[in-house]
Symmetry: C2
Subunit: 300 residues, 2 copies
Amino acid sequence: MRLRYIELFHAVMTTNSLTGAANLLNISQPAASKALQQAEHQLGFTLFHRVRGRLHPTEQALLLRPRVEKIIRDLHDLQRLTANFARPESEPLRVTCTPTLAQSLVPDATTLLRKAWPAATAELSTRHSAEMCESLTLRETDIGLTLQDASHPELRQEPLCQGRVMVIAPPGRWSPAELAQPLPVTALAGEPMIGIAVQDALGSLLQSHLMHVDPPPQISVWVQTYQLACALVAQGAGLALVDPFTASQGDGDVVQTRPLALELDVVLYAVYRLDSQLNPLQEHFIELVRQLARQTLAPG
Amino acid sequence: MRLRYIELFHAVMTTNSLTGAANLLNISQPAASKALQQAEHQLGFTLFHRVRGRLHPTEQALLLRPRVEKIIRDLHDLQRLTANFARPESEPLRVTCTPTLAQSLVPDATTLLRKAWPAATAELSTRHSAEMCESLTLRETDIGLTLQDASHPELRQEPLCQGRVMVIAPPGRWSPAELAQPLPVTALAGEPMIGIAVQDALGSLLQSHLMHVDPPPQISVWVQTYQLACALVAQGAGLALVDPFTASQGDGDVVQTRPLALELDVVLYAVYRLDSQLNPLQEHFIELVRQLARQTLAPG
DNA sequence: ACCTGGCATAACCGAAAGTTGTAGATGCCC
DNA sequence: GGGCATCTACAACTTTCGGTTATGCCAGGT
């Protein structure tokens, strides 16, 4: 089975047409036609029924599809990886972080870094944690920053600092005196709240805590990112639990922020490949992130 | 990345030499040399250091290796699968079973089947359960027979019959009167026994039961197949717990067989692809296996 | 010093994969 | 139903790629 045939099969399956497949592969339609016939001849069975001038996958083709697509994906990953080996040695600082941290922490740290290292170049991106691990192992990026536990056999995660889970509420909810002291979890009983759709360990832990409150909070809207929660809270949709970085951005006029009384800490991690020796630029960047994060989370 | 390069890389990595790789791929050494250079040129980094006329993988090559090997494996699986699509329609009965069942159950059933369908052809093989699932999904075989739970998203397992776990012992261990009635688990306390190395659910369940007996049986020898256990017991190495099919073969002169008093049943499963419609020949075979198994397990 | 084993280079060759051009079938729209 | 757009299939030609044989070079072992 030539690789060409596999790519062609995949292209035909996705475009549902031979001409479409040919375009996808940047070859002419007759070339695709001939290759498909060769593939079928070599395999010994037909992949597509020719019915009224169109191609319809046979039963066998449908059974092959998942395996072929997996191979294509793995192959693509391999290409991504090799592409990153060939990069020049004048390496930019490549950092990816979760959307939450992209709001201020990472840009601020980058700005500070460029004051110390004016010649340094950086590539910043945001990814959710699964893609972050992928991207790190494929060497598309060198440092990941996340609030979630991203354990992976090829990666190491270094805790940078810890903070408390925060409750955000529409303005005027609490008096200045109340704001200073942590809110007991039981105070959330029966409250209307915005739910954070759980993908991460933090979210699921929070949810299990909330569910044990009696009566449980009323969650009618679930959101995927903390920013969305923030915006909804500002509109008076209820309370929400968020990480302290998101909370610290909430302008005092828009939402009120108060720590939650919970032994559970939010941890900021730097993630990088086990085999990679961090260079001074990278070390410095991580140190800046650590300091900034501590400032942000410190009272005041 | 051409597939050729991937195969070549893999071949060089496994043989540690370019000439070896060339032999593996059935091409001449210069062809391999040129292809390797092309691959490196296209990738933009070197895969092997040429040191004193030999090839030594670079750091990058070592990092690529696992991914490349995975792709090679998947590709190989795909080929196995397509090879089985092209088979002629005059299908033989393709059955695979665990070694235990290959002792008498499957051959006996096949013999009976050939009396009813003299023209039928059959392909029998033995595989352990993981390979059995692989082989079924790759359509190398159509029916699997096993005593283990082989759940798999693409496969269906049909229980054919149930039997009791049996204890086998060297001859003369029990009186004919004792033999008839089940042995309580507690009677195994402190006994020298042959352990069945657990890969299957049955084995691990048995082990956990045994470990709860006080004092636990002394297991000094672990074996992987029931036949081995049988042979060791015959030599007086201790008792062993085996499935009823293995037990029923033990010649009375060699080992004594006695049921174990346990609510746990051994189940014989037929496994086949969810999407496959069994033909009459296959149905008949399964029915024969069911009947034979019931006879074997019935008292007497 | 000599042979052996292993990689690289050169010149050459054939088959595979791509191109353009064209033909036939189907479906759509007026 | 005529005409048009679309899609697949076939033919002839060209180029590129993967392969061969022959040969040279270098390092190690005897």
